[in-house]
Every structure is written in C-alpha cells, then in structure tokens.
C-alpha cells in the first residue's frame, strides 16, 4: 500500500467524507486555520525582524524569543491541528498537488532553519543579546524564516485555487 493509497483511504474515510460534505466544517476549519496563522506567523515575523535588528530592537534578543515562543507554539498547534483535518478532507487530491508539496517542503525547511539556529549562533546569544547589530548568521536565519513562511502562506493560498472541491 503506497502513501497515495493511504491518502485516498483517509479522504474516503467516514470522517473525511462527513467533513467534506458539510459546508460548515470546511469554512470553520479554514477560519480556525487563519486565526492560528495570524498568531503563529504574527509572532514569528516579529521575532525574525528582531533578529534583523528591526522592530522590537530595544528589547534583548533572548527576552523577545522567550516571550513570544509560547504564543508561536500555541498558534502553530492550532494551525497544525486544523491543517491536519483540512488535509483529511481531501488527502487524495492533495497528495498530487504541487503546491501542497511545496508547502510541506517549506514547512520542513523552516523547522530545519530553527533547529540549526538554536544549535549554533543562538547558543552564544549572551554575547550579542543587546548588541546594536546582530551577527550575520542570525540575520540569515531571520531572513530565511521570513521567506519560508511567506512561501508556506502563498502555497497554502494557491492550494485553495488549484484544487477542485467536490462540494
């Protein structure tokens, strides 16, 4: 059984079908997904901008990070759960969607970017917490994060315009 078969089976499952056939589920899940996005992306972008020395630059880097992180995770959790249900509604068609693949790839790269950042330059944050200019590596991580999240959001929007909804 290939991953595509699994995806089709999820789409055809009782839950997938019930949500697909209800007008309210799809709209409600989309709205929850958007609110999760606004909280997650809204905090991520201000953290990235701080790494670039823009916005909340008078606050120490580590304090901005520590402060915003729980909100980012909260928004991300809401986004991930609502997103998973949205995937279940049309898993079979999403499997073949190029924009869905771009979105998943960008999401994984964004995660990798966070991991590399935390394992390297952020370990020495004490040295540049209040520095007027942040280190180059931190600025690269911030820029990549903004670009990848823009990609995730744009690909997500493109999915909505390219899939044929059988509603």
């Amino acid at each position: 059984m290939s991953l595509y078969d699994v995806a089709k089976a999820i789409e055809a499952s009782r839950m997938g079908t019930a949500m697909r056939e209800s007008m309210y589920w799809f709209a409600a899940l989309n709205l929850v997904h958007l609110l999760g996005l606004l909280i997650a992306a809204g905090t991520i972008v201000f953290w990235d901008l701080r790494l670039l020395g823009i916005g909340l630059r008078r606050a120490p880097v580590s304090q901005v990070g520590k402060s915003l992180l729980p909100w980012t995770w909260g928004g991300f959790t809401v986004m991930f759960l609502s997103g998973s249900l949205l995937v279940a509604i049309e898993a079979g068609r999403l499997y073949t969607s190029v924009f869905f693949r771009i979105k998943v790839a960008a999401l994984l790269l964004a995660g990798l970017n966070v991991l590399i950042f935390h394992l390297t330059i952020y370990r020495k944050v004490d040295e540049w917490d209040r520095a007027p200019t942040t280190p180059l590596q931190a600025r690269i991580a911030g820029t990549l994060s903004i670009l990848l999240w823009f990609c995730i959001m744009a690909a997500g929007r493109a999915i909505g315009y390219t899939l044929d909804y059988a509603v």
């Binding site: 709209a27 989309n30 709205l31 958007l34 609110l35 996005l37 606004l38 909280i39 992306a41 809204g42 905090t43 972008v45 201000f46 901008l49 823009i54 916005g55 909340l56 630059r57 008078r58 606050a59 304090q63 901005v64 402060s67 915003l68 909100w71 823009f150 959001m153 744009a154 929007r157 493109a158 909505g160 315009y161």
Partner: protein
C-alpha cells in the same frame, strides 16, 4: 457612485486582474502578508499591555518599536485591498460582509490612531485605561479579520 463602481470594474488594471488565473491569488497573498504585519503588531502591543509578554520593556517603547512595521503592513493592505476590490467591484459593492468590513476597518483604524496608539505611547496613561483600550483594539481587529473572511465565504 454607480459610475465609480463601473470604473473600478472596467479599468485596465481590473481587466488585467481578470485576464488570468494567477493575478487575484497573488495580490491576495500580499493582502494576507500585510494582515500578518498589522494583526501581529496589534497582538504583540496588546499582549504587552496585558502583561503577558516583554514585561521588562515599557509599553511606550514597545509601541514605538512596532510603529514602522504597522505602517508597512497598512501600506501593503491599502495597495492590495483596492486592487482586490476592483477585480469584482460590482459583486463586492453589493456584498454585506464587504460593507461591514469597510465599516469595521474604518472604526478600527480611527480608534487605533485616534486613541489606542496615543494611550500606548504616553507613559502617563493609567494601566486600567490602557488595558480597556487594548481589549477594544483586539476585539476590533478580530472583527475586521472575521468580516474579511466572510467576504470570500459568502461570495461563493
């Protein structure tokens, strides 16, 4: 008014927006990017006022730091929004959620620049006033987002 709506619907830019599949979603992506900046800066400012984040930083300093990003987001919204409107001007002009959104947006912007931003930038504003104002600000912006979401939902 009808002449204006017709101009919106039939001008060259509007025709270009309808000439292919991709222009509308592309401008919509810019609109959401701007929304993230505006909503994100309101969220951070108001969370700070409620004492949930950046407790060591004074509120006026946070408000001042966010200001340029809020303006950037509003600029992106004010460019992308009218272009999206023009694409289907006649449809949107008759849409109740659209009218509601314009009204809420007008109230939210007036409230922000007329009151909330001034309260936040002034170190002498009593904490209680600031918190009530932050609550009003959050409710207004969330209602703008809800109305914006409803436009597309009810447009079908």
């Amino acid at each position: 008014m009808n002449g204006f709506i017709e101009w919106c619907q039939y001008n060259a830019l509007s025709q270009f927006m309808r000439s292919a599949k991709w222009p509308y979603p592309s401008v919509e992506v810019l609109h959401i990017a701007g929304l993230i900046l505006v909503f994100g800066s309101m969220l951070i400012l108001n969370l700070r006022i409620f004492g949930r984040i950046l407790r060591q930083e004074p509120v006026p300093q946070v408000a001042a730091g966010l200001s340029a990003i809020t303006f950037t987001g509003i600029a992106a919204q004010f460019i992308s929004g009218p272009v999206l409107f023009m694409t289907s001007a006649m449809k949107f002009a008759q849409s109740t959620p659209f009218k509601l959104k314009l009204l809420l947006l007008l109230v939210a912007l007036t409230y922000h620049f007329g009151a909330h931003r001034r309260f936040a930038l002034d170190p002498a504003t009593p904490a209680q006033t600031l918190r009530v104002s932050a609550m009003a600000s959050m409710l207004l912006w969330i209602s703008v987002v809800f109305a914006g979401f409803a436009i597309e939902l009810l447009a079908g």
